[in-house]
């Protein structure tokens, strides 16, 4: 297998549809032979990224879509979550847990932090031609062999 095998989903901008993406990504990862823990990690990361795209990228505008592209290669699975909206998915914010516990910071806002912890690579690309931005998540079958 030299060319990646692509699976693509076009999701409506509606909370709940992230489940379709997370379950599809999990199925692809299972086919590739990832362990159940890694599949669960990917499931969570894809769900969080899709929720970001729906809420922060597309601002819940149901006229827009979220496109999830899964590229399966020999050694890795890349999941790209692309929105069409004016918002930015990738404003990285490291949560301050102490401030959250004191009520001084929004108790939510841990999604991107979780994504980073759960996958091997994360990239956020904004200002795409035609608008929108995307998050690119990668997990490797053998991360220890990665350069």
């Amino acid at each position: 297998m030299t060319e990646p095998i692509i699976t693509e989903l076009r999701l409506p901008t509606r909370l709940g549809f992230e489940k379709v993406a997370m379950n599809t990504a999990a199925s692809v990862a299972e086919i590739m032979g990832f362990s159940s823990d890694r599949v669960d990690d990917l499931r969570t990361a894809v769900s969080e990224a899709c929720i970001n795209a729906i809420e922060h990228g597309n601002h819940l505008n149901e006229d827009l879509a979220v496109v999830v592209t899964m590229s399966m290669s020999v050694e890795s699975l890349e999941v790209k979550i692309r929105d069409e909206g004016p918002g930015v998915q990738g404003e990285m914010h490291v949560p301050d847990i102490d401030r959250k516990m004191l009520g001084e910071e929004d108790p939510r806002g841990m999604g991107m932090f979780l994504i980073q912890a759960l996958v091997d690579e994360v990239e956020y690309v904004t200002n795409q031609p035609g608008g929108g931005s995307y998050a690119r998540l990668v997990i490797h079958l053998h991360p220890e062999n990665k350069d």
Binding site: L15, G16, D40, T44, S47, E48, I51, P95, I97, D98, K100, M101, L102, G103, D106, P107, R108, G109, M110, G111, F113, L114, A117, L118
Partner: protein
């Protein structure tokens, strides 16, 4: 499976038992409602997470939000027996060292008396 919430009271402690997936949507809304209601009662809260099979950042956020509401009134909210996946997410976000977490209900209930 969506989230099932069950409440019982032991002395001045409300034990809130959750089972299922604690994720953004009806599950987090249901938990928010329970914790907000608990925050206006004179009891402290113990949240039993042993039946929670999956949690996302919104679920974690709801626990933090409930903690804030309850501790703001001078009472306590502690966690009981987080299942493996939840335990791992609490560690990942460093919430594990911030919440008081117990493996045994008896020990958890005893801690409110200290």
């Amino acid at each position: 499976m969506s989230l099932i919430l069950h409440t019982r009271t032991t002395g001045s402690i409300e034990i809130l038992t959750l089972a299922g997936r604690l994720v953004l949507g009806n599950a987090t809304a249901g938990l928010r409602e329970k914790l907000r209601a608990a925050a206006i009662r004179p009891s402290s809260v113990l949240v039993d997470l042993s039946g929670v099979t999956y949690i996302d950042s919104a679920g974690l956020g709801e626990l933090v939000s409930g903690f804030n509401a309850i501790t703001a009134t001078g009472r306590f909210m502690k966690l009981l027996r987080p299942a493996q996946r939840v335990d791992s997410m609490l560690h990942m976000t460093k919430l594990y060292s911030t919440f008081e977490i117990f493996e045994e209900e008896t020990a958890a209930l005893g801690s409110y008396l200290r």
